[in-house]
């Protein structure tokens, strides 16, 4: 079975376990008589565990299924098959009422701080809005004080409680989004590209804020991003996705320094290093063409058409995500997993 590796990190209990998660979208044609003419395999057999206090990074290019994975876990999409357990409870079988409670415990921070805040609401109302659905979290007479505390916690001036989103910069808006998520006292925060829309000089502020909050509140993050440098910095473990599947997963040193999957190698080599002296060091692997459409899946390994290691077996058998004993599972027939005796 392609189960995740045994926990290599000294984090707490498993708070979220995803097993063989599958999400297919039908492609239909016709308006009155719809018929299905194909399937987009957005998420195809994805398994991972998220521990308490841990940050798990889901990285990959656009269309690889990282956001769909998160949406399916939250039941914003109906899973085609597979399971997701939140602290031992099967998310996909929860009743409406139980689901509402779960959505309090798993909060989301979105990419676009301009689109994700209601422009007609004051910052105080935005942060406190969740309490209208979950009145039990915060008694009414404590709410205003709590909003003050939250604003302070995310590094905003509590006196700005009555301002509107347009009066804030991009970085400040993202802080408002963080405060809104924290208002419901979640255990897990799904961060969907939380810093991609921000200016470089502001990105680091938000990254540091997320790290501090994690330490302070013991949060677990599912960190979805395409920026491999930010992911390396913030994540304890990283899962690299390609066309709906996890190609490789491990900690920062395993995935970045002892890369075993050719896709990860290519992806990493494409990320420029901000140092002109490093320009001609290291091999730059240029992948040919674009990511194939997830609507017409390939036989065997999905990466084989762009892979320089591909051989006959890759077209016949789909490689499974296998841990070869180093706690560094890789889905490749020719994985180069190195055993690092230092660890």
């Amino acid at each position: 079975m392609s189960a995740p590796a045994p926990d290599p990190i000294r984090h707490g209990e498993v708070v979220l376990r995803v097993e063989h998660l599958v999400k297919y979208f039908p492609i239909t044609r016709g308006i009155v008589f719809k018929r299905q003419i194909g399937t987009v395999k957005a998420v195809d057999d994805v398994s991972f565990e998220l521990h308490e206090g841990e940050t798990l990074g889901l990285v990959g290019e656009s269309g690889c299924g990282k956001t769909t994975t998160a949406r399916t876990i939250l039941r914003l999409e109906k899973a085609t098959s597979g399971h997701a357990w939140y602290r031992g409870r099967d998310i996909f079988t929860l009743s409406g009422k139980e689901m509402r409670e779960l959505r309090r415990e798993i909060q989301v921070i979105f990419q676009d701080p301009y689109a994700s805040l209601n422009p007609r609401m004051t910052v105080g109302d935005i942060i406190g809005e969740g309490w209208r659905v979950h009145p039990g979290v915060m008694p009414k007479n404590r709410r205003r004080a709590r909003i003050h505390e939250l604003l302070e916690l995310v590094g905003l001036n509590p006196d700005h409680i009555n301002r509107y989103p347009h009066q804030f910069s991009g970085g400040q808006r993202q802080r408002i989004g963080v405060a809104r998520a924290l208002a419901l006292e979640p255990k897990i925060v799904i961060c969907d590209e939380p810093v991609s829309a921000l200016d470089v000089s502001v990105q680091a502020q938000v990254v540091n804020l997320l790290e501090d909050l994690q330490d302070e509140l013991g949060l677990s993050y599912l960190f979805i991003a395409h920026d491999l440098s930010v992911v390396r910095h913030i994540c304890d473990r990283i899962a690299v996705m390609y066309l709906g599947k996890i190609a490789e997963t491990g900690d920062e040193y395993q995935v970045y320094d002892n890369t075993a999957h050719p896709y990860t190698t290519a992806l990493l080599s494409a990320v420029p290093i901000p140092d002109p002296a490093a320009r001609h060091l290291g091999r730059r692997i240029l992948l040919e063409g674009d990511v194939p459409s997830p609507a017409d899946p390939l036989s065997g390994c999905r990466f084989r058409t762009r892979c320089w290691k591909a051989q006959g077996v890759c077209a016949q058998t789909e490689p499974e995500l296998i841990d070869r004993g180093q706690g560094h599972p890789v889905a490749c027939h020719f994985a180069q997993v190195e055993f690092d005796p230092a660890r």
Partner: protein, 347 residues
């Protein structure tokens, strides 16, 4: 051949054979809007030579794109006005040219590509037709011949099965392929300068690498000068010969990329480098720049970076720092550049 035009004159004015490809000097651009006057570019100077790449690095609102639009002559006026400075293309002052003459320079001698290739292309015409239009309009090439040239160009920018794809519409292409179409259009008239405004920002990183490699290859073949407008320090480090760092409409640091990256002499540049995580090394804690970029309608007096600067002292509020020469080719607009550049002296 109809396309061989004299390259020794610009709008009837002879070029200066000794002059660099492009010299921008003390460029000023402002936008007069209801809320006030935004000084989007406030004294920018740089020199671009044949085959060279100059990167203009800055965040949103730094004036980097506006400065490129001013060079290109495509600022909407009003509200935008080029209020001072000089833009000399091979010695010929572009700012003195009539609009009709500038149009002839645009596309022909200086071409530009944009971040969003989908909005830059016309959705109702096939891409091959749009590329061919360049030859028909600027060179009067007959329809059939223009089409063949378009297909040739599509092959040159490595669009697979170019002949078939020439009949496809922009929405049928992926982001990377659309950017290749843009590049093909930009290169159609053999421009001497290509301005690339965030050419890869909307693309995935593997596609970004393909596009940057393509641009480098084309530059090598043609010897064109490249002006790269971007916020991405990684991309700049990979391709730029010269870097101009802009902040709030001003150039704050400028020089060859190696010294600018290795011994930054402006606190903003140093702050950018420090706040950046890297894919090749482990970073314990990021050191961000505090605060956020200023409101361009209310830039503080003195040094615009002062409110965010860890080196700021009284003089920074009183006097705008002049460009100080760190070396003969490296300048910094900071009163305390010596102190800042010592920061990396050991490295």
């Amino acid at each position: 051949m109809a396309t061989t035009l004299s390259r020794d004159a610009v709008a009837g004015r002879p070029v200066d054979p000794a002059a660099p490809l492009l010299v921008v000097e003390d460029l000023h651009v402002e936008f007069r809007i209801e809320a006030g006057t935004v000084r989007a570019v406030n004294g920018l100077s740089y020199t671009l030579r044949r085959g060279e790449t100059v990167a203009i690095l800055g965040e949103s609102g730094s004036g980097k794109s506006v400065s490129a639009q001013a060079v290109m002559g495509i600022i909407d006026s009003p509200p935008g006005f080029v209020t001072g400075g000089s833009v000399r293309f091979r010695g010929v002052e572009l700012l003195d040219l009539s609009e009709a003459d500038r149009r002839r320079v645009r596309g022909d001698r200086i071409a530009m590509i944009f971040q969003d290739a989908l909005t830059a292309l016309n959705p109702v015409f096939p891409v091959g037709w749009q590329i061919a239009e360049m030859f028909r309009m600027h060179r009067g090439v007959p329809r059939k011949e223009a089409r063949e040239k378009a297909i040739e160009l599509m092959e040159r920018v490595k669009i697979p099965s170019a002949r078939t794809r020439a009949g496809s519409y922009p929405h049928e292409f992926s982001g990377g392929m659309r950017q290749r179409v843009m590049i093909a259009m930009a290169l159609s008239l053999d421009p001497e300068i290509l301005i690339a405004d965030e050419p890869t920002t909307a693309l995935d990183v593997t596609v970004q690498a393909q596009i940057m490699a393509l641009l480098a290859e084309l530059q090598q073949q043609t010897g064109m000068g490249l002006i790269l407008i971007t916020h991405d320090l990684g991309v700049v480090a990979e391709v730029a010969d010269q870097v101009v760092v802009m902040y709030a409409g001003r150039e704050v640091e400028k020089g060859p990329s190696l010294p600018v990256y290795h011994r930054p002499a402006h606190p903003y540049t140093l702050g950018l480098m420090d706040s950046l995580p890297r894919r090749d090394v482990h970073t314990e804690r990021l050191r961000p720049i505090k605060g956020s970029p200023p409101d361009l309608l209310a830039i503080p007096p003195g040094c615009p970076f002062r409110p965010r600067c860890p080196y700021a002292r009284d003089i920074c509020a009183a006097e705008e720092p002049p460009l100080a020469a760190v070396t003969s080719e490296h300048v910094s607009a900071c009163h305390f550049w010596e102190e800042v550049s010592r920061e990396r002296a050991g490295a």
